[in-house]
Symmetry: C2
Subunit: 254 residues, 2 copies
DNA sequence: TCAAAAGTGTTTGTCCTACACCCATGT
DNA sequence: ACATGGGTGTAGGACAAACACTTTTGA
């Protein structure tokens, strides 16, 4: 960590996570002096404090040094030379939330010259989905806090814009790709899956049509189990079919 | 910032543009030792030598040094600290083809640890569309050559994989976004536009349905001009409506 | 007047939406 | 019994594919 005191801080925060390999001596960069960071937009579903309806939340970390000291920022840090991009994203996610990503995909690379005062920083940004229940009891310290995704305060750097783009990506992708299950446990009812879609898309869905849509997608495996206890007909439990493609094929994406 | 003045000067790329992913002698970077490059997959439409049908072509540059000396690679180079990502992509495109991109979009960032022997290189890759006619008389030197996109030789680094992904992206995006006009001049007939779609998608399209599809997209402006000279009814010329969104909204994308 | 492509009309099938309705359970 | 959500059936509209047909030109 000491080495860092000599240079401009990473795009996000350092504290526990940040740098993995701080051997950055006084060396110069091979390229032309741009620093490479990896940040992650982490989505979870949590009931709103008042309405009780589930909404999107994400964890942010407080910056402890300039620039943008005390502002909230996306979790992230410099890219260690010996770590894959997605691995770095998963690691900062874990270090921030003590969770593992159920879905992780590269979002975009932000590299505007003036996005970070002073030093040119290029950030490869990932977005991730984590399980709701687990996220509720996730660590929340002085420097880590969960925020409602559509009620964010002004963030450090261009992070507001990044979150907005990630939100758009999540919402459009939920409509055609089978990723909603990442918010849920291994088994779930169609009503739970529908609740996820409704929360993400912010609109009500017809249960009957939603069922058919999911059934015809070929990504759900019906189990024999049912959920009893409610004062109505028990709902069947389903499991996600990992073999089915998540629809994006011949490319990266994870 | 002081630390930066001590840095090794940019290596960028030498000669014309040789380097696809370039490399360097010195070591160590500000972050943790990763070098940042920008490469571009440039698509143009050219008639196949034999069939005469239009197909996708792209320009590659020959590497003049190790690793992968003499292999063909995507145009690109190190990212200068004072240049925007998209600007760097447009510049290497211009330096390679003497053309301006009619469409330019970030594709993906490739950063596998072992994608370049020896040095960790992270490449932000863009894809671009350029006009067909112009592309035909584009510069072709000893170290720059155009290849049919689906008949590429083994390329340097992971560039075969990158091109494959860019091809997939182009093909899927042509189906829902209005980008095909980027291959054409300012005005064009529906038959020409359809020819572009057919070349990209590699399948015949019904002229009647294609017409309706385009007309209802709201991105075409009908002119009063017609193309005479052919031995059949003259076709109306259309112009692309720049005001119409290209469908991708709230995010980067250009 | 004929070939060929521009451009229009129409049918057919598919998918999505809306909504009526039955099923199974806890209270 | 009955309220509640699980689950099924079905009619109607939007849209796309397929293809017949008319229009306009050059030769």
């Amino acid at each position: 960590m000491l080495e860092h005191s000599v240079q401009t801080p990473p795009i996000a925060q350092q504290s526990p996570l940040a740098v993995g390999d701080a051997r950055a001596s006084a060396a110069g960069s091979v390229a032309a002096g741009s620093s490479l960071a990896v940040s992650t937009v982490i989505f979870a579903l949590r009931p709103d404090d008042e309405s009780g309806l589930k909404t999107l939340w994400l964890p942010l970390v407080r910056r402890t040094r300039d620039p943008h000291r005390d502002l909230w920022a996306l979790p992230g840090g410099w890219l260690p030379a010996d770590e894959e991009l997605a691995a770095a994203a998963a690691r900062t996610l874990r270090e921030t939330t003590e969770l593992s990503p159920r879905y992780l995909e590269q979002l975009y690379t932000f590299g505007d010259i003036d996005r970070s005062p002073g030093l040119r920083v290029v950030s490869v940004v990932y977005w991730a989905l984590v399980r709701s229940e687990v996220a509720e009891r996730a660590s929340v310290g002085e420097n880590v806090r969960w925020f409602a995704a559509d009620q964010l305060p002004p963030l450090a750097f261009d992070h507001n814009r990044i979150v907005e783009y990630a939100l758009w990506r999540l919402r459009t992708k939920v409509e055609y790709a089978r990723i909603a299950h990442a918010f849920l446990g291994d088994t779930f009812t169609l009503a739970q899956l529908r609740e996820v879609h409704e929360a993400v898309l912010q609109k009500a869905l017809d249960p009957a049509n939603f069922r058919r849509s999911m059934e015809s997608s070929g990504t759900l495996i019906s189990t024999d189990q049912h959920v009893a206890g409610a004062r109505h007909r028990p709902a069947r439990l389903y499991r996600y079919d990992g073999r089915a493609s998540e629809h994006d094929p011949p490319g990266p994406t994870l």
